[in-house]
Assembly symmetry: C2
Homo-oligomer: 130 residues x 2
Amino acid sequence: MSKQELEVIGQDSACCPGLAAAPLDEDQAADLAKFFKALGDPVRLRLMSMIASRGEGSEGSARGEVCVCELTPAFDLSQPTISHHLKLLRQAGLIDCERRGTWVYYWVLPGVLDRLAGFLATPRAAGAGA
Amino acid sequence: MSKQELEVIGQDSACCPGLAAAPLDEDQAADLAKFFKALGDPVRLRLMSMIASRGEGSEGSARGEVCVCELTPAFDLSQPTISHHLKLLRQAGLIDCERRGTWVYYWVLPGVLDRLAGFLATPRAAGAGA
DNA sequence: GGTCTGTATTGATATTCATTGATACAAGCT
DNA sequence: AGCTTGTATCAATGAATATCAATACAGACC
């Protein structure tokens, strides 16, 4: 098995070597760019932040959900637009949602942000400052 | 302008609270999305990876530069296209370059990747797995 | 000077993307 | 059943983007 699945940052893998560890091949780059592309929009980044600041829901106690009805009014955008951005974040594998009665709740998929952070961090993160 | 500069992840600040710490306001989100947007393209992510894997040039000894002449042939894209992507990465504040003789060398701006990593990492990065 | 190589810029084109109004769907309520 | 509210999807449009061929620019070398 050379690399049978290249689960770059998949769901459960221990995450890839890191951006600065070695040059990415095309497939790895495509998979990872998907995440950054989703975060590369101010609206989506704010949405992520609003959802993530409720907790990432890793333990199972408080999953840190946010109702769409709390997200939409925070923007000067139409409701379909917010819904669209939430869909993109979900398709990117950053968040998930569940309908409960009339309302839909979103939460950050556990571990994704930390895996991305680990990917960006340089091996010897030494004297960054000054 | 109330908050004098809001240097979200600027150049020298200690970096913002983090994505999951508190909801970002519009300006913070716009500033940060710029970085992720630049990384949200497979070609640029590969370029970044190729440059970053040469070292981030923080100490001052080996800055870890890469000649454009090493980058371009790694892609099935025209030379202007690669040049364009490098320009975007530079405008985003991720890399910088210098011409030396005929060749142009690029390197990763020190600390940027680690600041971004710190921004993404959740406060209590606890049991992500299982 | 002229020429050659490496890199950036320009102009054009095709594609992608963000946004909206209109509409459909889902669930609660009367 | 009808009505109302919350959310998603559809269709259309304008803006942004990736890409290339052609060209300009910079420096080395003759």
